[in-house]
């Protein structure tokens, strides 16, 4: 069994936490809503035959300050900075939800920076006929139920671990929501759609069939808009946090994609 290691990298916007596990070809991972308050079984699976590098995006647990980021350009540069600083240039990149929107931006803006792209229920689009749910207008105690198909398990995952200060933990958790809202307010549409055609890299789009936030129908829209070869994998029984709800199925899909491009 591999051990997870943690290091800190410096970026123009401040220091950021980077988690790593495994060895072999490098694959980066940008987390989604809530960031990564803790390690994920999906990352264990991925690290079995590659080096998984997980930098924290601004405002997310372990990330740099997000309050200096005023617009999308600031966000894209900040994401690219932490991507570069953690040594991910040219590697495969996985991005989930909020991290998916930023991973796609990096792939579109710097084609050489991303070898192959995996997007897990990425933000960045809003479709009038098939609107997404307003994740920022939900009672906090109902959030898990719309994020995950296993809300009790998800509650436990984000809850304060033993030994952590509850106030600081809750602030950390809420800060991740603040950062996501700052990037995505009000509709989650960063107009990424018009830049997807710049992506010529091979891409895999993964979506939970029961995503209550971003409709699974968005998956094909992403695949259609990307210029490179793009395939879609819809995972049954999984919600927006498909990487949490169905880690084995997601790991298998990613493994297939990265092993057999």
């Amino acid at each position: 069994m591999n051990a997870m290691t943690e290091r800190t990298v410096e970026t123009p916007g401040g220091a950021a936490r980077v988690w790593e596990m495994g060895s072999g070809e490098t694959v980066g991972y940008f987390a989604g809503l809530h960031g990564l308050p803790g390690w994920l079984p999906l990352l264990d699976s991925l690290s079995e035959n590659r080096q998984v590098v997980v930098p924290s995006l601004p405002g997310y647990p372990g990330g740099s300050d997000h309050e200096q980021l005023d617009d999308l350009f600031d966000w894209i540069l900040a994401a690219r900075d932490v991507h570069t600083a953690s040594g991910l240039g040219g590697a495969d990149l996985i991005g989930a939800s909020v991290g998916g929107a930023l991973a796609a931006e990096i792939a579109a803006a710097w084609p050489d920076a991303v070898r192959r792209l995996v997007l897990i229920a990425p933000y960045g689009m809003y479709v009038d006929e098939d609107p997404s749910t307003d994740v920022f207008a939900q009672a906090q105690d109902k959030l898990s139920a719309i994020m995950s198909a296993n809300p009790e398990a998800y509650d436990s995952y984000v809850d304060t671990p033993d030994g952590e200060d509850e106030v600081e933990w809750d602030l950390t958790r809420f800060r991740a929501q603040m950062a996501a809202a700052r990037l995505l307010w009000p509709l989650g549409d960063t107009k990424l759609g018009k830049r997807l055609a710049r992506i010529h890299q091979p891409a895999l789009i993964i979506w939970g069939a029961d995503d209550k936030i971003l409709p699974a129908s968005y998956a094909q829209r992403f695949a259609d808009a990307i210029s490179g070869p793009a395939s879609v994998r819809i995972i049954e029984g999984a919600g927006h946090k498909v990487e949490f709800d169905a880690p084995d199925a997601v790991a298998e899909a990613i493994g297939e994609f990265l092993n057999n491009p």
Binding site: Q140, E166, V167, L171, W185, P186
Partner: protein, 418 residues
């Protein structure tokens, strides 16, 4: 002491089963509930009530801004204020206020308020709220994390635009203008008094102290629920070396006056229930957009809470509206009711206790009729106000009140129409 007559302009005909059948009075309220012909009536009645209050001798009449809100029909308070500027002669016109971050560029606010200050002959009080989450972030789509920085920048821009004696370039974080040049200029020099409605954050108090603004705590739950915030305000002002001038503070209070307490209960229970039960039926999911409250304020709030499972789930929700309290509206002081003497005694006690020299009053609340509203206003103006106007006047100077043109120089609508 100053008495300001404040209208929220609620829609008066929300159905009896509103609370059972609808999620929220604000943001996603059903447009089908609005009868525009009834809207025509109530706007005109409400303007009558404001003009009646000015005529009755109230010190000021106040309007405010809400969006997609069943109890606040003034998306543009400036429209109503401009009517009042023309239709009244002496009362101050208090716009409480414009949510500055909603205007792009905020120069628009400087211009419209300068117009109203000119039309009214210098009677404007300029209110600068951040704006509620419901209005700004949800109804108007503003980014919650950027709202406050935009607000602070807008205050810089607007006050500079009023005070500058030449056109200037403004290179802000959010607003850039090569030429800022507000025509018309406000009558009041260097600018109209600025009042800031706040929710109790230390950042706002500090700004009021630094910029010589008036701070007003506008809670719908009256003087008892305002006490903690106002005491915090005066403590902070003292620590910043500011004198405790009660005229630099205001609070909101619903009031119902009648000949006796019993009559007051009969008259005001229905409208009070409509206000607290129906008008304040607000979905909590619209109370706390992530980023609206700063991390510093959240940390302070959490640190003062005893952490239980129940309040942990709600700790990010705004403290704005406490619906469990609605049934005790008279006992808890959410509405002060009674005979004129009882009301005057209660107000004096509250004003002294909170050290507040400006009372913003809801003499219309809920679904009160024009007749009842005017009755309330008349009794207040004739029998309550005279008992209290001298309060604080002997010791303190009111430096945050409009300084209009001399009455003899002001053009009145009636004269102009002749």
């Amino acid at each position: 002491m100053k008495f300001l007559w404040f209208h929220l302009m609620p829609y008066p005909d929300l159905p009896d089963d509103f609370k059972a059948k609808h999620e929220s009075v604000w943001v996603n309220i059903d447009p089908g509930l609005f009868d525009a012909e009834r809207g025509h009536e109530v706007y005109n009645e409400y303007i009558d009530e404001l003009e009646f209050a000015a005529e009755a001798g109230l010190d000021a009449i106040c309007v405010n801004e809400h969006h997609a809100n069943g109890y606040g029909l003034m998306p543009s308070p400036n429209l109503i204020a401009s009517i009042l500027a023309r239709g009244t002669s002496d009362a101050a016109i208090c716009i409480m206020g414009n949510s500055l971050a909603l205007y792009n560029p905020p120069t628009r606010v400087a211009e419209e308020m300068a117009m109203i200050d000119c039309i009214s002959g210098g009677r404007l009080i300029a209110g600068f709220p951040v704006g509620t989450p419901m209005d700004t972030c949800y109804a108007y789509g503003q980014n919650p994390g950027l709202l406050r920085p935009r607000y602070y920048e807008a205050i810089e821009l607007i006050t500079k635009a009023w005070e500058a004696d030449e056109a200037f370039a403004f290179n802000g974080r959010f607003t850039q203008q090569r030429y800022v040049n507000v025509w018309p200029r406000p009558v009041q020099k260097p600018r109209p008094p600025v009042w800031v409605p706040g929710s109790g954050s230390i950042e706002t108090w500090r700004m009021c102290a630094e910029k010589d603004f008036l701070y007003a705590y506008l809670s719908y739950f009256g003087y008892k629920s305002s006490a903690a915030v106002m005491k915090g305000y005066w403590k902070a002002m003292g620590e910043m070396g500011m004198e405790p001038n009660p005229f630099q503070a205001g609070f909101l209070q619903a009031i119902g006056v009648a000949e006796s307490r019993q009559e007051a209960e009969e008259l005001y229970t229905g409208p009070g229930n409509y206000f607290f039960d129906t008008c304040l039926h607000l979905s909590p999911r619209f109370a706390s957009p992530p980023g609206y409250t700063t991390e510093e304020s959240l940390r302070a709030r959490f640190a003062s809470q005893v952490v239980t499972a129940a309040n942990r789930a709600n700790r990010f929700s705004g403290s704005g509206i406490n619906r469990s309290a609605e049934r005790k509206m008279f006992e808890e002081g959410h509405v002060i009711i009674g005979s004129p003497d009882e009301v005057a005694d209660k107000i004096r006690e509250a004003a002294i206790d909170l050290n507040v020299g400006n009372l913003l009053m809801l003499l219309h609340f809920g679904n009160m009729s024009r007749d009842l509203t005017n009755y309330n206003t008349q009794l207040f103006a004739e029998k309550v106000m005279p008992q209290l106007t001298d309060l604080f006047e002997d010791k303190w100077e009111h430096k945050w009140w409009p300084e209009p043109m001399a009455a003899a120089k002001r053009v009145m609508q009636t004269e102009a129409a002749e």
